[in-house]
Symmetry: D2
Subunit: 343 residues, 4 copies
């Protein structure tokens, strides 16, 4: 058993870490921090954890964190970059679920996030925590930048095509929809039940923070710059991301189903649906699986890829634990055996 | 006051006609037919109509229909084509909300709907009931083929661009999501609450019945064949369609906001949002409005159009009443003053 | 056409007044006030009102209000009591949708609402705006205290039994559930989509602000003090209140169905379902109707009354307009012809 | 590892058994039967089980079942009673999740379920599978009648009070609300998304099948007949039951919080909230926990108990597995470590 801490555990990704780690065979959460809730029992804030988690929120101190082998940051952007250097210096490994270390182009990060980066030297040292692309690097990393929820779905959906070199990389479209938990647990009129339920809308159509991260990742996979149009939407569901991806085929004789099945044959958490399938977000509700289907409408040159994941699990906390398992050389699926909750 | 009848009034589009016509100043529903519910009070099936509708379902007979000036068919495809010739012969005008008379290419219709067409000669006599494109023809028609819900949203979203000639017509993408009421009121496991709620999925990605109708309409608008990729999705909401449309601009100096505002300046039911807007389906819940926004992400060559409508109102029964108003030379908005129900 | 103003029109009851008044034949909204949104177009905040409402929020000033014949207060408690005296002094009638003038026992009000009452002398002058109980007084009132949403449903459900004298008044139970819009449009973690959706809970089981108001109303109806147990619940729906009321019969030979049908025979907005019915909240979604059913399980001494209303319509803004219609001697149903939006 | 089979595994309780048993340390599902889906892969019907369950539905045969140590019946009522005698005769133990063996009064069962009982002699041999009441008997049983979802919540909520002898047993009220999955996975208009979502209603107010089962259980606990009023409601949520229970205290000096805490101190799956709490159904979504709070409004003689459970887990399949664990003398919590999925 290693000791782990969670910084910023009052949010939904923090709660999801607690839910999943409650049954982890090799890691035990010994500290959860929150400035606002220090002194309150975790299961008072999250009654779903009654009988499962017996911790009290405490103020974040280096002392508490330094006692662990690993610290998860489940904080809004801007927080991890202020603390990570000290934590690493104390010999503790870090998995950051925020956007702080994802984008290698610092000025680009600063433009999208509207602030100066507090630890720019650490960005290059961070490993992008997408196991399906970066498994070997993750195993040896001390600092993981966990991918965003949207970028995970888009990258997993396009990687087989980009690596097979069979699509036009200059014009790729990602029409993606997310459940409301992606917006976090913050008092906000825009995500009130009465504003969101029984409705649907796009947002950020002219530009969104996850665009540069996704474009960087796709370009890494393609080995060349990828032109991406990305339109996010807000779904009236709790959890789940559904990506509908469009690209133009550059070769005619490709067997798309095989491209996907072969690419992910050995992946424990990526499942390719049989030909003609349509994944549903609920199939992966609470699970770390990503399910994918690929279509070629009317046999034309357009390829349509459908991807689902749980934004809090494979899109955040589950992926973080998958990275932890790699970092500590455990079974990659340890603690991640939750089956999608249906119905 | 004219007398109207509704054939197939037990379904959701039939119920929506009853809801809207309850307050229409010039038309009175005098007969509602249903084979399965004949003899039952309408307000027993739809308690929302208690105190509003005092009718009893009756079996469909030519006699009952011939007494009216207008008959709405709110039936599944295949039903109207069997009755419409006799109804028209009796001097009664018809608005068909089903797919029976929408597609001019009869073999194409027969392939998608899996049956021989029962009244192929009437297809050419039918006017496609999209007022924003066909207003003059509708006014003089005896037989209206009301557009499908998906096709309405896609056509209204692309018409300004197609008529302005500023997009590549060979590659247009419609990523569209519909509320569950679009699937109708039929016992069906796939649309149970426990199958649909808190989830999201695409369906028909390889081909859908609304594709040929939409492609025909877009090509009429463009004056040339339009290449369309159409992927429908199922939203966990009652009512509402949201279309996210992608096209490639062929000219650089076009003012997209003006193209849309000018095209729809005189339309009573199409509203263009201010620049940067994102329409929500709830804004038009129960109303006949269609709201549209247009974006050009990162100022590139891709144009993104966002469209919302209520699939049962502007996408079906409201549009049918709008057509009726035109056919009888009434104020086009008569009986259509419902404001979107928010929240 | 009279001129009316709405103070506090950014909240859901304010928006509901705007939705309903948009089609009122005798009243026109000429001013909407909001401190926080002054200067912003109403249809920018509520895009559902595009093409319907052409007003701009303004700061609340006596000048703007004094120009009207009627002012609606759709404000949180504590606001109306500060302004109402001046508005009345200017000769303008007032309908207050908040709790400020509902409870005659001032110290009781002050205990539940945690503040000193700002206009205690006006409480006795206010008429409780429940038309089914107080129609004559409402017609002549200058100041209406509109009932709360929960109290409306409970009072309408129990009034026939209390007035018929056939239940034990010492032990009445109201198990009531409300949609989330009842909590208002305020940034609040507890009513986020991700906190409320796909879940259900009671709240305030040990005591709730609507208890004293309801108990006062029931006692007025009974002519003696009524002992009430009231447990509110939060439903994952936008609009709607469902009350399940339990009482013990004191006489055996009462025909419950007739008691209800007779009591409400002439009421335009109360509808008694046929024997054995179960009202659904959706049947009155967006409408001013209240639907009621009465049951006597296993023919025993317990009577169960089921009541539904839309908390924003009959439970707030629709009832306010019904009061206005009475105050100005118009048809009581003017502007209230919206049919329940189903599905 | 024992071998278990599931008869009727296409329904929601069957799927829930599969979800939970996928991670059970001592039991392996070796056969799943379904007449309608024989030959189809389980993960084709339930894609959430991809990568988790590798079985194919087969027709139910005694041969397949006789090879197991235990058979779960997750069938509609009337099915288990036809097969159970043979299965028991083959030396296989049975846990029946249907209503077939729950009610000891055979004519009463036959009246409510509208058919002759097919195995009346087996009813007396069945043990009612509520571990908190019947733990010792369950351990030695060969045939378990698993409690219904509603009865579980009501019995767990009232048992402490009944056993403490501090309430009037002649007048107990259960106002209970259930998620839609309780209605099962059957094509049915009444449980379509468009009929249920964004709405709420009572049903069966005059009488419901779970009344006699619950009354029998409560009377067993009280040692005398209990008078119960039971009104079920349909919630627009997937999973979850919330019971609001009302009773009249017969003694004044009882410490209600202690009565509950003491009664359930050693129960692994019943959790009493701190004083003043209000349990939410989501807290136990997908978990086997039951959470309870107790209130005494205004310090009066009425006691209000609030209970939540997941109708598919503690209300059905989770409880069945808890019984299995007792029958085979394993840790009672084996395979039941799922934490409530929040949000």
């Amino acid at each position: 058993m290693i000791k782990v801490a969670i910084v910023g555990a009052t949010g939904y990704t923090g709660a999801e870490l607690l839910r999943l780690l409650a049954n982890h065979p090799h890691a035990e959460v010994v500290a959860v921090t929150s400035r606002s809730e220090a002194g309150r029992r975790v299961d008072h804030l999250y009654p779903s954890l009654r009988g499962v988690v017996d911790l009290v929120f405490e103020k974040p101190t280096l002392e508490a964190l330094a006692d662990c082998q690993l610290v998860f940051f489940a904080t809004p952007h801007g927080v991890a970059q202020a603390l990570v250097p000290q934590v690493l210096a104390a010999g503790v490994r870090v998995i950051d679920l925020s956007a702080d270390f994802r984008i290698r182009d610092i000025p680009l990060w600063e433009r999208w996030y509207g602030q100066a980066h507090g630890a720019p030297d650490y960005v290059a040292r961070a490993v992008y925590g997408l196991p399906e692309f970066n498994r070997a690097l993750i195993a040896n990393a001390n600092l993981i930048a966990c991918p965003g929820c949207y970028p995970t779905s888009i990258q997993l959906g396009l990687m087989p095509l980009l690596q097979a070199g069979c699509i036009d990389t200059t014009d790729v479209i990602a029409n993606v929809a997310s459940g409301v938990s992606g917006a976090g647990r913050q008092a906000n009129i825009a995500t009130l039940y009465s504003e969101v339920s029984d409705s649907y809308k796009a947002y950020g159509a002219a530009g969104h923070r996850h665009h540069p991260e996704t474009q960087q990742g796709l370009s890494d996979m393609a080995g060349c710059p990828v032109g991406l149009t990305f339109v996010p939407h807000l779904l009236p569901i709790n959890r789940g991301i559904h990506a509908t991806l469009f690209a133009n085929l550059t070769c005619d004789d490709v067997d798309l189903q095989s491209v996907f099945e072969d690419r992910y044959a050995d992946e424990p958490f990526v499942s390719i649906l049989p030909e003609g399938g349509h994944p549903e977000t609920r199939s992966v509700r609470g699970s770390n699986f990503c399910q994918i289907a690929v279509h070629r409408p009317h046999g034309g040159r357009k390829v349509v890829v459908l991807v689902v994941e749980d934004n809090l699990t494979k899109g955040a906390s589950g992926q973080a634990i998958q990275c932890m398992n790699l970092m500590f050389a455990w079974d990659e699926t340890a603690g991640l055996n939750c089956v999608g909750l249906v119905p």
